[in-house]
């Protein structure tokens, strides 16, 4: 473990400040709580909010999993996992089921989370209205009044112009019938997993200095209209390696002739399936290689 720094890097006063913000966020689901975000040794926009939240909830007996794009081995996930391995010395895992704290960027694991787990989302832009109204003084007022007409108009205009809502990730949700919330840039495919999730969901935005939360078993509805219900898209294929048809897929370019391979973005989910004998159309070839 790294010498000269406190457990999980942040000093205890800072952790207490962050925990107070987390408690407030849990008490008012979906409300963005400003907090004294610290300058971390990793760049803003690279997970500093998630890291601060994780550092504040992490205990010595926790088992940490860090994913980026659903994968444990993407460089930034590796970097953040190493950061906690160095500063907190906690056990780490790539297996969703074994983790007590999961820090994620852009995905929710395919495997359903449990009550004894916490998922920490890295959030680049906590303000769901930011693209419609740049002033935070103004969006704050809109949240206070639950004045979300602007977002409904945006969805309506999308439907009028494109025949569908043209938001495919960071799709806005209504939490506990009260606050409009940015689910972070997860694909809309993942939105339904947030609804009534048994695990505690925490969101940290370091650069924008906001924390918000969805407590266990809270209603999280993706915005839609009665005649245009929310629909989540995924590539219409089966995973080439494990054959899954229910997982979110990455599209991998395999040659210069238009060849594509679709594979699970959740690397742990895919590996677990293959370990239990599931084989996709391209998986056999992989085994033969």
């Amino acid at each position: 473990m790294m010498q000269g720094y406190n457990f999980a890097y942040l000093d205890e006063q800072t952790k207490r400040m962050i925990r107070r913000a987390i408690l407030k966020a849990v008490a008012v689901p979906g409300l963005q709580v400003p907090f004294g975000s610290r300058e971390m040794p990793l760049p803003y926009g690279w997970g500093t909010g998630g890291i601060q939240v994780t550092a504040s909830v992490l205990g010595r007996n926790d088992v940490l999993k860090v994913i980026d794009q659903g994968a444990d081995d993407t460089t930034n996930a590796v970097s953040i996992r190493q950061f906690f391995a160095r500063t907190a010395g906690v056990a780490t895992t790539t297996r969703t089921a074994e983790a007590s704290v999961i820090q994620t960027r852009h995905r929710i694991p395919e495997q359903a989370l449990r009550e004894d787990q916490i998922i920490v989302y890295q959030v680049p832009q906590p303000e769901p209205l930011s693209r419609l109204e740049p002033s935070r003084a103004e969006t704050r007022r809109m949240h206070a009044l639950a004045d979300y007409g602007l977002m409904h108009v945006k969805l309506y205009e999308d439907i009028a112009r494109f025949g569908q809502v043209a938001i495919s990730y960071d799709y806005p949700v209504m939490v506990n019938h009260r606050y409009l919330m940015a689910p972070s840039p997860i694909p809309a495919f993942d939105n339904p997993k947030m609804h009534m999730m048994p695990a505690l969901q925490l969101f940290g935005a370091g650069r924008e200095k906001r924390i918000y939360a969805v407590p266990p078993y809270t209603e999280v509805r993706s915005l839609d209209f009665d005649d245009h219900p929310f629909r989540a898209g995924r590539a219409p294929h089966a995973c080439g390696l494990c054959g899954a048809t229910d997982s979110y897929l990455d599209e991998v370019v395999v040659d210069n002739r238009g060849g594509r391979l679709f594979v699970c973005s959740d690397t742990d989910y895919c590996a677990e399936r293959r370990a239990t004998g599931h084989v996709g159309a391209d998986g056999v070839q992989e085994a033969a290689e």
Binding site: Y5, D11, P34, F35, G36, S37, R38, E39, M40, P41, P43, Y44, G45, W46, T48, D68, Q69, G70, A71, D73, T74, T75, N76, V78, S79, Q82, R105, H106, R107, P124, R136, A137, F162, G163, Q164, A166, S168, Y169, D170, P185, I186, P187, A188, F189, R207, R210, G233, A235, Y248, D250, E251, V254, D255, G259, L261, V263, S265, D282, E286, E289
Partner: protein, 360 residues
Amino acid sequence: MAYVAVKGGEQAIANAHAWLAEARRGDPAVPEVTLSQISEQLGRAVDRAMGEGSLYDRELAALAVKQAQGDLIEAAFLLRAYRTTMPRFGHSLPVDTAKMQLRRRVSAVFKDLPGGQVLGPTYDYTHRLLDFALAAGGNPPPAPQDQADATAMPRVADILGDEGLIERDGAEDGEPGDLTREPLSFPAPRDVRLQALARGDEGFLLAMGYSTQRGYGGSHPFAGEIRMGEVSIELEPPELGFAIDIGEITVTECQMVNQFKGSKTVPPQFTRGYGLVFGQTERKAMAMALVDRAMRAEELGEDVTAPAQNVEFVLYHSDNIEATGFVEHLKLPHYVDFQSELESVRRMRAEVAQLAEAAE
């Protein structure tokens, strides 16, 4: 098969760091620079790193400049990340820049004034000709010396203030805000705004200040005074009840004097724009003073129309550590979101094609 599951991120990162260290050192046949060489001979770089890094420590700043291969935003980032681990044990009394040990003092609004104009070590009147003698190295002849002038050198703003020609200024009582501890909120008080500007990116402030001169929120500024030198830092620990001197720092201060026609409640008088930055950083102090004044538009009853007058816009975008992090985060993998966009575009294109077919 062409597809290989991407593994080994850990090793790739370690290798990248090793390569970086080698590249940083450069040709090992060339002597390595020392921290004292950097702080002595690249002092302006050290000053900028200290200012934007919000940490006054020449040695650490020199290390940051070395470690960052001279990338000053990266150097400021290193200093900030170090600074954030330090406990905060109080705040100093306001520095008294009237008592500054001056190395430079110029006023553009008076031909002469008590203490006179002092050019100091400035590039202002150098002709920008590459000095090939400098390339060869060697020590310059010693600069002429004289007895220190003991004349008090009052601040120009105080001279104007004695006549009531410029608005009063002064810190409010109470603890100054600190945006490294508390998040920004609006309306942001002036102490927090000035802190943000003092930490802000020199290039950003320069462009914003420049924009006010070109008509985007102009405030008819005069450089009332620019001074650079050493000031004492005094701290008053509550258990002592009196101030103690904890050291001195070099700062550059700029007071802009701006036209103001007066309002219903205030007679016509000059208004202030203020800049104060660590080290010898005159360009930034001047730009800061322009932007500070521009951001006071609302308070002074002026129309808020230009970017530099928009407090939220300036404060949210002046910090280069935040900006560089977010701009550069675009190089992180985004393929999950891109995939969802791909599917969405394909779906929309299919619908358009269907409609076109149906129409035929």
